[in-house]
């Protein structure tokens, strides 16, 4: 039920029947690219909207409510404004690097969503090293951040970029180790197989406490990797005005802004896929009536529902906690998260070895 594979197959076979293999390949790639870009833009805009509404509600405010019903078109209006704004060029800035930095950041986040499985058969590429690919690509964004900070020729930007570098390099470890836990359980790095391994229960339930610990660590480290509060030191508003993107304006600023939200989406989507069963519905053990009802909800809704929940938790963090200081940030990683995740990985390996997980 709700399998996208036949639809996609019929599309490719249609292309193959009517065009030469070269053109068929090209057209399918272009249509895929357009679809992903559209998805990217719409999702990015509505994540911004969602964040504004969530924080408004937490802060006893209304949030956007002017443009469109309930302010639904507010972020689109903002985007148009940002597109029309002047791009400010900084004297003495390294203009090549300055201009390329936002593209590196945004390309990294676009490429990461390419291999996320949204539903059965709805995945651009199902790499056999899917997790590694996403991890590698999404950490490329920090290069863009570093370049942006360096090329801006601004002291605030440099401090922000250096902080970001230190932060991402350290937290990459915890993210990797936490993901490794799920990979150990599933025995594969292919995302579709990881989902298939959760057919009889999500890893967060099947993996006892260590899986839950790994999930929490992943959530914290993932939040840190996206440079979001309470780990938003790179753009610490009260210290560095806007950190690494202080000097950017117009659409280039929008790229950074969108990339932040899309990175958050990627982190949440990965958490969903690895720990929360991806697009699989929620099943109660042997409770067939309930399970059948759950099956009727399309996998796309399951996937986006779970992702939205994880994103909500990350927003909840941001709008509650004060920001850490740089040394505390690193201490949290090296003194707490890393030892715990190493220990956790050891436990999980043992569990898997003994087949003690459900």
């Amino acid at each position: 039920m709700y399998d996208f594979a036949p639809f996609i197959d019929s599309y490719t076979s249609y292309l193959n029947a009517h065009f030469s293999p070269f053109w068929a390949g090209l057209i399918s790639m272009v249509s895929l690219g357009v679809a992903l870009l559209l998805f990217y833009a719409v999702l990015g805009l509505y994540l911004v909207y969602a964040e504004r509404k969530v924080c408004a509600q937490m802060q006893n405010r209304m949030g956007p409510n002017r443009v469109g019903p309930m302010g639904l078109f507010q972020t689109i209006a903002d985007l148009i404004k940002l597109l029309l704004k002047e791009l400010i060029y900084i004297r003495n800035a390294d203009s090549f690097l300055f201009n390329i930095a936002p593209f590196i950041v945004i390309v990294a986040s676009i490429m990461a969503i390419g291999s996320i499985p949204f539903a059965r058969g709805l995945q651009a590429v199902d790499l056999n090293i899917g997790v590694l690919y996403i991890l590698a690509i999404s950490s490329m964004g920090v290069i863009g951040v570093l370049i942006a900070g360096w090329a801006s020729n601004s002291k605030y930007s440099v401090i922000g970029a250096m902080r970001s570098g230190a932060q991402v390099i350290s937290y990459e470890l915890s993210v990797g180790l936490a993901l490794l836990c799920a990979i150990t359980f599933a025995g594969s790095m292919q995302l579709s197989e990881i989902i298939a391994s959760q057919q009889d229960g999500w890893w967060i339930f099947k993996g006892h406490i260590p899986a839950f610990v790994a999930f929490v660590i992943y959530l914290i480290a993932g939040t840190a990797e996206t440079n979001r509060g309470p780990f938003d030191l790179a753009e610490a508003e009260s210290e560095l005005t806007a950190g690494f993107h202080t000097e950017y304006s117009g659409i280039k600023f929008a790229f950074f802004f969108l990339a932040e939200y899309m990175n958050m989406f990627v982190i949440a989507a990965l958490a969903t896929t690895l720990f929360l069963g991806g697009w699989l519905p929620f099943h109660l053990y042997n409770f067939t009536a309930f399970n059948t009802v759950m099956d009727y909800i399309p996998p796309v809704f399951w996937f986006f529902g779970k992702t939205a929940f994880v994103i909500y938790v990350m927003m909840w963090f941001k709008w509650t906690f004060p920001r850490l200081r740089i040394d505390q940030l690193l201490a949290l990683e090296w003194k707490y998260l890393l030892p715990i995740s190493l220990l956790n990985l050891l436990l999980i390996s043992f569990l898997t070895l003994m087949q003690w997980h459900f």
Binding site: C55, M58, Q59, N60, R61, K155, Y156, I159, G229, P230, D232, L233, A236, E237, S238, E239, L240, T241, K318, W319, T320, F321, P322, R323, L324, R325, I326, D327, Q328
Partner: protein, 373 residues
């Protein structure tokens, strides 16, 4: 220190200078910290002020006493009532008159309300400085209720010009007592929320404890008063040392802490809020009847010099009037709390990280117009 920063040969290329302000999210107003950094560490800070210098002392020389009161609102705009009260009390002391008990009670209630309002705004902004963005809205949400009380009685929300030599501009609104009582019950319920959200938070405690240590000697030598000074164990509460208005009639504690760090200053302010609620509680039900304004022929200080200080939300505000006997002062000097509180920053923030500088300057609770006047 004769050389300015531009003259310093930056032989050590690791050092560089950034400007915090005059337009910077963490300096609440137009103040510039010329900050020398080495990596993330602050080496020294040179505060530059004067961006909002309006010459209030000079202007006041050509205004009569009731007229110059309205300028004091614009110094420390968050303790407008206390500033007005300082001038009013100093002029009354010079004229050797005493206002009715009703006026004293109302003045004290208004002063304590604005102390709470000021601390609420400080709490909001302090949370913001540390990156907890939600505190700002909670603080302002509760402060709004105090401003409503002020607006109903005085007609304005921030700069009231309500307390004037000889009494008050007009009598309080009939709803005043009811609304104040409502507010006290409301805010007693909301105050624990502040502590849950920020005070107890482990990140917040890590960010503030042991940061920006100021010893008692330093506080006294620099003249750091108010909650900032009391956080270092400096007993400087004018309300206790030289009680004025209705403070002799109420029981309250002077909140002091001995740690002297950012958290101590924070803690003192949080305690002061509930202490102020207690003071209001004792006064609001017993406001005596009487006139709100003394029938004075002319408000003129006799020849001589007069000094009076009050405790504003930020410390000791002293008013020094030199009078030649006319309706205008020959010279009026405001010893403002923020002026003295500001300059200790180099002493206590040097050697910390730049993020701590933001926390420390937030914990000193600076209002810039009060420094520049």
């Amino acid at each position: 220190m004769e050389e300015t920063l531009l003259d310093i040969d930056l032989k050590d290329r690791e050092e560089y200078i950034i400007n915090m302000g005059p337009q910077h999210p963490s300096t609440h107003g137009v103040l510039r910290f010329e900050t020398c950094l080495q990596g993330e560490m602050v080496k020294y800070i040179i505060p530059h002020c004067g961006y909002i210098h309006r010459g209030i002392e000079k202007m006041s020389e050509s205004l009569s006493y009731p007229q110059l009161v309205h300028l004091t609102d614009r110094m420390d705009y968050l303790s407008a009532h206390m500033n007005n009260e300082a001038v009013a009390l100093c002029v009354e002391k010079a004229m050797e008159v005493e206002v009715t008990d009703r006026v004293k009670y109302i003045r004290t209630i208004l002063a304590e309300l604005s102390r709470i309002a000021s601390h609420q705004l400080w709490w909001s902004a302090f949370g913001m400085d540390l990156g907890a963005l939600t505190t700002f809205f909670y603080g302002l949400r509760d402060r709004e209720r105090i401003l409503d009380i002020f607006e109903e009685t005085t007609g304005t929300r921030l700069i009231q010009t309500f307390i004037t030599p000889g009494g008050l501009m007009n009598d309080v609104h009939p709803n005043f007592q009811k609304r104040v009582r409502e507010f006290v019950t409301y805010f007693r319920k909301k105050l624990p929320e502040y502590n849950q959200l920020l005070t107890g938070n482990v990140i917040f405690q890590e960010r503030t404890k042991g940061i920006g240590y100021m010893s008692k000697e330093v506080a006294i030598s620099y003249g750091v008063t108010g909650p900032s000074g009391r956080g270092s164990g400096f007993h400087c509460d004018i309300r206790k040392l030289a009680p004025y208005s209705a403070y002799p009639f109420v029981k309250f504690n002077e909140i002091t802490a001995t740690e002297g760090d950012t958290f101590a200053r924070y803690w003192v302010r949080m305690q002061e809020m509930s202490e102020s609620l207690d003071i209001i509680d004792q006064l609001v039900d017993n406001i005596p009847q009487g006139d709100y304004m003394l029938a004075l022929k002319a408000i003129k200080a006799p020849k001589g010099e007069f000094y009076h200080s009050v405790e504003t939300a930020r410390g000791e505000l002293g008013v020094f009037i030199v009078s030649d006997g006319g309706p205008n002062p020959a010279r009026i000097k405001y010893r403002t709390p923020n002026f003295s509180n500001l300059f200790v920053i180099n002493k206590i923030a040097a050697g910390h990280k730049i993020a701590d500088l933001v926390a420390i300057s937030g914990s000193l609770d600076l209002v810039i117009p009060d420094i520049d006047r």
